[in-house]
């Protein structure tokens, strides 16, 4: 590198990160153990967000590379319940044949997160744990009522996506996987044509007495909010003809606090209703 100062150039390594110690567990138990006892640890999964966090002031002393934990790479379904390992990448997950057959709307939505280059490396777990409003994994999983499985030294526990947003990561240990119960899910659609202003996911659930619609909305700056509407005695085939009224009724429950620097509550309500009509009219069941 001696030629660089001579030429008046600053080598990029002048930005070198503070020294780190590396830990490379191959099991969840080892990873949790390191997380518990290492000095200022941070987890490395796909790594696409970690350097951005460095630029925002993150300064770990220990790097726990969890990419070798095969148990967290698996995507499987049993009796209609999806089990998605936290290390499943956007590319790997969204192109999984089983997932595409079981929840095609989710597979389509997942395949549109980020760009092709990022999708090869970034993981669904990393997307969630970054807790950035502009990342879309949380919205999709909240709309699907996903449960997040954590392992900590004290044991395992399960929380909702909303709990993760509201209360953060502290003390939770490591996210190991995501569970989505699709047994009563009839249709799922994600609308992101207004991104980055706002995006929304529509889920149609079967209930004993009819249908339940869930609409989850987020913006570039706001974490996801969920609204729902029960439609007793209605069949999926009737949603299309009643789309406008259903969308209007559902959007009345949009919280007045759902507003940011670009999107007012009124705009979100009107645009959300228009998008929802489009979603209901093109629903694949």
């Amino acid at each position: 590198m001696e030629y660089l100062p001579t030429a008046g150039l600053l080598p990029t390594s002048a930005r070198t990160l503070a020294p780190l110690r590396l830990w490379r567990p191959t099991s969840i138990a080892d990873a949790v153990s390191y997380l518990d006892r290492c000095e200022a640890p941070v987890l490395l999964a796909g790594g696409t967000d970690l350097v951005a966090q460095y630029n925002e002031g993150l300064s770990p002393r220990s790097l726990i590379d969890i990419s070798r934990i095969d148990a967290m790479r698996q995507l499987r379904q049993r009796d209609g319940v999806l089990h998605i390992g936290a290390l499943v990448t956007h590319h790997g997950g969204s192109s999984d044949a089983g997932l595409r057959a079981l929840v095609p709307g989710f597979a389509r939505a997942w395949s549109r997160i980020a760009n092709p280059r990022i999708r090869f490396r970034a993981t669904l777990g990393g997307n969630l744990m970054a807790r950035r409003t502009r990342y879309e994994g949380a919205l999709l999983l909240q709309a699907l009522k996903a449960k997040l499985n954590f392992t900590a030294p004290a044991g395992t526990h399960q929380v909702s996506v909303d709990t993760l947003w509201q209360h953060g990561v502290a003390g939770r240990g490591m996210l190991t996987g995501i569970e989505v119960d699709t047994r009563n899910l009839m249709a799922f659609d994600y609308e992101r044509s207004l991104r980055p202003l706002m995006t929304q996911a529509l889920a149609v659930w079967r209930q004993p007495s009819g249908l339940r619609l869930g609409l989850t909305m987020a913006t570039e700056h706001l974490s996801p909010v969920c609204m729902s509407l029960t439609l007793p005695g209605i069949a999926v085939s009737q949603l299309r003809s009643r789309a406008a009224a259903i969308a209007r009724d559902l959007l009345t429950s949009l919280p007045s606090t759902f507003a940011d620097v670009q999107v007012t509550t009124d705009y979100a309500s009107r645009a959300g209703a228009a998008l929802m009509v489009r979603q209901l009219e093109s629903l694949h069941v």
Binding site: M1, L4, P11, T12, S13, R15, T16, L17, A18, P19, L20, R21, L22, W23, R24, P25, T26, S27, A29, D30, S33, Y34, L44, G47, T48, L50, V51, A52, N55, L63, D65, S67, N115, P116, R117, I118, F120, R121
Partner: protein
């Protein structure tokens, strides 16, 4: 804790073995070294550019096991065991790769800062989608940032390279 894990954990340096532009290399790096700094500063493969330093712009893209990766957002040790290709490894025996040639012929660059990343991204695209439609090209090229060309010439270069590689281009 497994014995294997106990042996390799807690290290501040890593010895990594990789295939770099077709040649086997063994290198020892500090854990915190980024892949981009390894390529540029240690190995002097300066065709790998540093732009945003946060994985957004794609100027630092290398192909890692055939897949485009932002090396500014990777640690060097993550290249262990990988097949890495940088822009320096693309031309063979003094002859430009068809993607490089198409970029030249279409004038798909002005300042050139993004070009190595764009070319490697295109190579990966054409390996996955040998005859991509325009929507696929646009989606892939949106992975990287060019602030000069407006992308039109880059898309034209991708289309030309695809046709040439598929043996469909008229001469």
């Amino acid at each position: 804790m497994s014995d294997d894990a106990a042996l390799v954990n807690g290290q501040s340096e890593c010895a990594l073995r990789l295939t770099l532009n077709g040649a086997e290399r063994t290198i020892t790096v500090p854990v915190e070294r980024t892949a981009a700094d390894l390529l540029r500063d240690d190995l002097r493969l300066t065709g790998t550019r540093i732009g945003c330093s946060r994985g957004v712009c794609g100027a630092c893209v290398a192909l890692v096991d055939g897949v485009p990766a932002a090396t500014c957002s990777m640690f060097a040790f993550q290249l262990d065991g990988c097949d890495v290709q940088t822009i320096e490894g693309l031309a063979q025996e003094g002859k430009l790769h068809p993607v490089q040639q198409a970029f030249v012929e279409q004038g798909a660059f002005q300042c050139g800062y993004c070009t190595s990343g764009m070319i490697l991204l295109t190579k990966a695209l054409l390996e996955q989608h040998p005859r991509p439609d325009r929507a696929t090209i646009t989606e892939w090229i949106s992975s990287n940032v060019c602030r000069c060309t407006g992308y039109a010439q880059i898309i034209a270069a991708v289309e030309q390279a695809a046709a040439r590689l598929a043996g469909e281009e008229k001469t």
